[in-house]
């Protein structure tokens, strides 16, 4: 086996050829090259290699077509986000109108005929249903649905557009009936609860 010669800075030649050696290292390597034919041959090879790579590396960029494709992707994403935002705003606005017109910011609990108690949003202990309405549902449609299901909105929307609703009455089976009406409605995407 041939003995390795530690004094040849072969590793550094690549970085000398591409111009990225620091000043001190460059001077050291160039001083060596002045006295070493073996490394000069390697240097010539690497210079020729670099020149060829720069001249002959096949390049075919996406160009104008690639830019058009990127623009479409950006526009499609922004259209989709915008439509989603407006739909969510529409449903939220419709539900808020219904809640305000019902005259409640908290919710009305009927413990017994004539007896009522108000509780603020967020502190409800009674069973509630979690409902996600379709984004294109109108105020009129939601109002009719809530009346049919005999429920009222007591919270929401959360980050996923989920509202919390509870039956207007505490009669036995009211929650199950409300759940059934909501689950069967085409305006409801999802309903969960006890």
């Amino acid at each position: 086996m041939t003995r390795k010669n530690d004094s040849h800075p072969l590793e550094a030649l690549t970085w000398l050829v591409n111009g990225t050696l620091d000043e001190e290292e460059r001077r050291r390597v160039e001083a060596h090259l002045a006295e070493c034919e073996r490394c000069r041959r390697e240097y010539r090879f690497l210079k020729a290699l670099r020149q060829s790579v720069k001249t002959h590396w096949e390049e075919d960029s996406p160009g104008e077509l690639g830019w058009a494709r990127l623009q479409r992707r950006i526009q499609d994403e922004e259209s989709s986000l915008s439509e989603h935002r407006w739909r969510r705003v529409g449903v939220a606005a419709a539900v808020m109108v219904i809640v305000l017109q019902a005259g409640v910011i908290g919710y009305l609990v009927q413990r017994a005929p004539g007896e009522t108690a108000y509780q603020p949003l967020g502190s409800i202990e009674e069973p509630v249903l979690q409902v996600r309405f379709r984004e294109d549902a109108t105020e009129g449609q939601l109002r009719r649905l809530l009346l049919e299901a005999e429920v009222e909105v007591v919270g929401g929307p959360g980050g996923l557009g989920i509202y919390r609703v509870r039956p207007l009455h505490s009669r036995p089976g009211a929650l199950a009936r409300a759940r059934g009406v909501l689950a069967n409605s085409p305006l409801v995407e999802e309903v969960q609860g006890p």
């Binding site: 086996m1 041939t2 003995r3 072969l10 111009g19 990225t20 041959r41 960029s61 992707r73």
Partner: protein
Amino acid sequence: MVNPMEDLETRRLVIDIGQGSESALRALYDSHSSSIYRFALSRLSDSAEAADVVNDVFYEVWRSAAKRFRGDSKVSTWLLSIANHKVMDRLRRRGREPARVDGEAVDTALDRMVAENISDEPPGESAVAAAQDADRIRHCLKMLSPALRQAVYLAFFEDRSYGEIAIILECPEGTVKTRIFHARRRLRECLDAMGQGQE
């Protein structure tokens, strides 16, 4: 190498993109898409996938990356490191572990060679002459593994320092040097053989 003034202007583009300027995105695309395309192609060997990487890189720059650019590297280095992530994602989806490439396997062989004091023979004059031939260069570059070809692209086409290449490829500087060593050796052997009419 990137002109320092050019990089200042390019940084300005990134800031403008972060503020929603599509014309700045276009300018950055025009100046850097080819570099990213070649980089991706050198590793993926598929022009459609390389074009997808270009699209993904600039889309990410537009959506969020521009706001996250800290300015602690050149813009071009930053873009290529994003491109490297996209390339690695695609290699994983292909079911190919990025770590299992010829470059890494040969690193172990190199360690053995160093331990055994085997020298790196100088290139013959025929190799030097063959290095100037377009067809031979293209042929021998294709013979390299993707990882080595990618290292050659960054060192000899992009003129990156080994430090920058290590940042782009997220590997140790020693690995960069090892890949260049092996790429250089294989190219020399291939060109030497072609120069002597053996390939």
